[in-house]
Amino acid sequence: MAMTLSLRALSPRRLGWKVSPLGVLAACVIVFWAVIAVIGPWVAPHPPGEIVDYDFFGPLSAQFPLGTDYLGRDMLSRVLAGARYTVGISLAAVMLACTAGVVLGMTAAVIGGWTDTAISRVLDAVSSIPSKLFGLVVVAAIGSSIPVLIAVLAVVYTPGSYRFARALAVNVNTMDYVTVARARGERTGYLIRAEIMPNILGPVLADMGLRFVFIVLMLSGLSFLGLGVQPPNADWGSLVRENMGGLSFGAPAVLVPSLAIATLTISVNLLIDNLPTRIRDRSE
């Protein structure tokens, strides 16, 4: 008996920090893009707006490793410069949206009553506004800048995150251990932080990965409408849309930014799915 106990205690599963190779690979891709987001403009061979080639939709060549776009601009430089917008804005927005949504959701579930009703109805009202229209109005009123874009995206995606977190937290809230903590006289802050949060973390992280993908898509949608990142700069989503005409030629100009988006979003979801058990699902 003692023998099996000590064996179990030493197994990596018990420690909960076992990492999967897939998760490591995904983390590497994310780190790669994050580094590009920071240093992109300095390593890019050309300024993103400069027309360097007389031909458009140029193929891969030694001079332009990723070809050229519909105006003959260097795609490598444009993808490197665009990383900053896509990775930065989307990550910041998803962090804000999920933090706000999850904290409000847990608060509503724990306090209940009028607080719950008030928060829920306000956020229902927010989610009833068409998101693109909301972005249009705000950007038209204040003007487009990166902080405004982050704020708009965060506001649009907070209600969904709130609904998700509240539904989970309501279930955890009825557990006896929360009742025991309540009978002990614990305050709302402790209940949220120590009793509820760790037990909804797994699903909340998975939801965050999905939401990140939606935000990348919405950002490119806003850019297409001319409300997002302003030309001559472009995020990856707008790179795809502006080079859409090259799709029939199989031009690298449209394939390369698509690949960039795919690698980033797939990696984010793979990373979350392969987080160590310790973080992802503490109930195991």
Partner: protein, 541 residues
């Protein structure tokens, strides 16, 4: 020629980590036609797994490794799925533990009961309906002609369990498997259900397998008892043999656990201030008009707990006994009445009570699974009240946690474990240790042994008694199980429909005067094969 022949059955599963575990280790047993055999054992003993193998069914992840399960001439272990499916419902039928979960809430009862006849195309539907009504009558269901027209939520739990049996009996099976069919029922309901099962089985001459952890229930219905532990047969014999001439030490410990030592060191009632006094408490759920709750769960309840003594609160589900604990703890603030702790009046709600008041009164819940946060280690769970009430930190806290683990007889190394890695009994001990960490004077125990196996529950009761001697505690012990209450309490309060029926000294329960408490006490199964036939029928109603 026996109906069922299980020979050297081995059944195993592969865990998530790829480890092979053996659940059934070479079990052999026989069942003659018309014989009722009980499989008894604690959770994890493999009793349900064996019963399911009779239908050729394994729970997900499990698989029959070797051995044979001959039922009516067909080996269920190796037969193709189509032939096994043809056997189910017609030769072997199953009555599940939770009838409420076994019925589809959106379909009328009769259509679900005759489903077996429809699937196997046994008889015309009209005939099946007529037969179902006959079975309802045999199972002593009220209004047998029309009860089938109702939906599952429109009948009581005991009736639903009998309807589940009707579902099994409609196909005239040769063997019926009962999987803990009365475990979730109240004692007064259990007795009627048992009686109905017994008469139907006897009249139909069917063989049965009765899976249970409760020896007293099994003794009423089974011809033969097989005691299981760890996937192996420990002892096998007729009901009389097992109850009166048990040979195996494990069977003896099961029998001993059924008769817990009565509380011997009862302190005489202290004169002076009671530890806990509840006067005229009314509480309920929802908010109706004029400040009264919409649904009143407690009606003018008063009770008194003297220092160093224990009060048992007993009643069936819905009697308001758990609500009483919630009202005392302030989780459900009473609308009227007072709760006095050591002569000092407590505020109705938790939020208004002082930390000191909260500390002196602790509550322990029934289901240790849900009462321990799965994300916190045992050390953190026990340590939190130390920090919260006493401001203990660092090594002082560590030392006290170790001390508390010693008190509840758990190894100190367990503090690094997560609740998911503990057994049910260990969890309940951690649950107790957390309450003790506050240095309370009164502990409200809400059904704390109900979810535990008999032997484990008896050990927890012993621990409670011991802690009481050492720490000068008083318990309010809420339970539906009379024998545990008798084992630990000085006084027993009987509740029914949110009202106090009667309060009696624990050693004078036979002197109960109220008809409801007499019925309740008489309904507790005795370890005696003839008990069920002796108990008078409950008055109609």
């Amino acid at each position: 020629m026996s109906l069922v022949q299980i020979r050297d059955l081995r059944l195993g599963a592969t865990t998530d980590s790829g480890r092979e575990v053996e659940i059934i280790r070479g079990v052999s047993l026989d069942i003659a036609p018309g014989e009722i055999v009980a499989l008894i054992g604690e959770s994890g003993s493999g009793k349900t797994t064996i019963a399911l193998s009779l239908m050729g069914h394994c729970r997900p992840g499990c698989r029959i490794r070797s051995g044979s399960v001959m039922v009516d001439g067909l080996d269920m272990a190796t037969a193709p799925e189509a032939r096994r499916a043809a056997m189910r419902g017609t030769t072997v039928a199953y009555v599940p533990q939770s009838a409420a979960a076994a019925f589809n809430p959106a379909i009328r009862l009769i259509d679900q009961v005759i489903e077996v006849a429809r699937i196997h195309d046994l008889m015309p539907m009209e005939e099946a309906r007529a037969k179902a009504v006959e079975v309802f009558r045999a199972l002593a269901l009220p209004d047998p002609d029309r009860i089938g027209e109702r939906y599952p939520h429109q009948v009581s739990g005991g009736q639903l369990q009998r309807l589940a049996a009707a579902m099994a009996l409609i196909g005239d099976p040769k063997l019926v498997i009962f999987d803990e069919p009365t475990t979730a029922l109240d004692v007064t309901t259990q007795i009627e259900v048992l009686r109905a099962f017994k008469s139907v089985m006897k009249a139909g001459g069917m063989a049965g397998v009765y899976v249970s952890h409760d020896l007293a229930v099994v003794a009423q219905i089974a011809d033969r008892i097989i005691v299981l532990k760890g996937g192996e047969v420990q002892e096998e014999g007729t009901a009389e043999q097992i109850l009166h001439r048990a040979a195996h030490p494990y069977t003896k410990s099961l029998l001993d656990a059924f008769h817990p030592a009565p509380r011997s060191t009862a302190t005489p009632p202290a004169q002076g201030v009671p530890a806990l006094e509840v006067t005229g408490v009314t509480a309920g759920y929802g908010r109706g008009r004029d400040g009264q709750p919409l649904k009143i769960a407690l009606h003018d309840v008063s009770c008194r707990l003297d220092k160093g003594r224990n009060l048992g609160v007993i009643g069936e589900s819905g009697s308001g006994k758990s609500t009483l604990a919630r009202a005392i703890a302030g989780l459900l603030p009473p609308v009227s009445g007072r709760v006095l702790l050591d002569g000092h009046r407590l505020e109705p709600g938790v939020a208004a009570r002082s930390k000191e008041d909260l500390r002196r009164l602790q509550i322990v819940f029934q289901l240790a699974d849900t009462a321990l946060n799965p994300a916190q280690s045992v050390g953190d769970i026990i340590g939190r009240p130390l920090t919260f009430y006493h401001g203990a930190k660092g090594s002082a806290r560590e030392a006290r946690v170790a001390q508390l683990l010693d008190m509840v007889r758990l190894p100190r190394a367990m503090r690094h474990r997560l609740p998911g890695e503990l057994s049910g009994g260990q969890k309940q001990r951690v649950n107790l240790a957390r309450a003790l960490a506050a240095d309370p004077e009164v502990i409200l125990c809400d059904e704390i042994t109900s979810a535990l196996d008999t032997v484990v529950a008896a050990a927890v009761i012993d621990l409670l008694k011991e802690l009481q001697r050492e720490l000068d505690l008083s318990y309010v012990f809420i339970s539906h199980d009379l024998s545990t209450v008798e084992a630990i309490c000085d006084e027993v309060m009987v509740m029914h429909h949110g009202r106090v029926v009667e309060t009696l000294a624990a050693d004078r329960l036979s002197e109960a005067r109220d008809p409801y408490s007499q019925l309740l006490f008489a309904s507790v199964p005795q370890l005696d094969t003839g008990w069920l036939d002796r108990v008078p029928q409950r008055a109609a109603g």
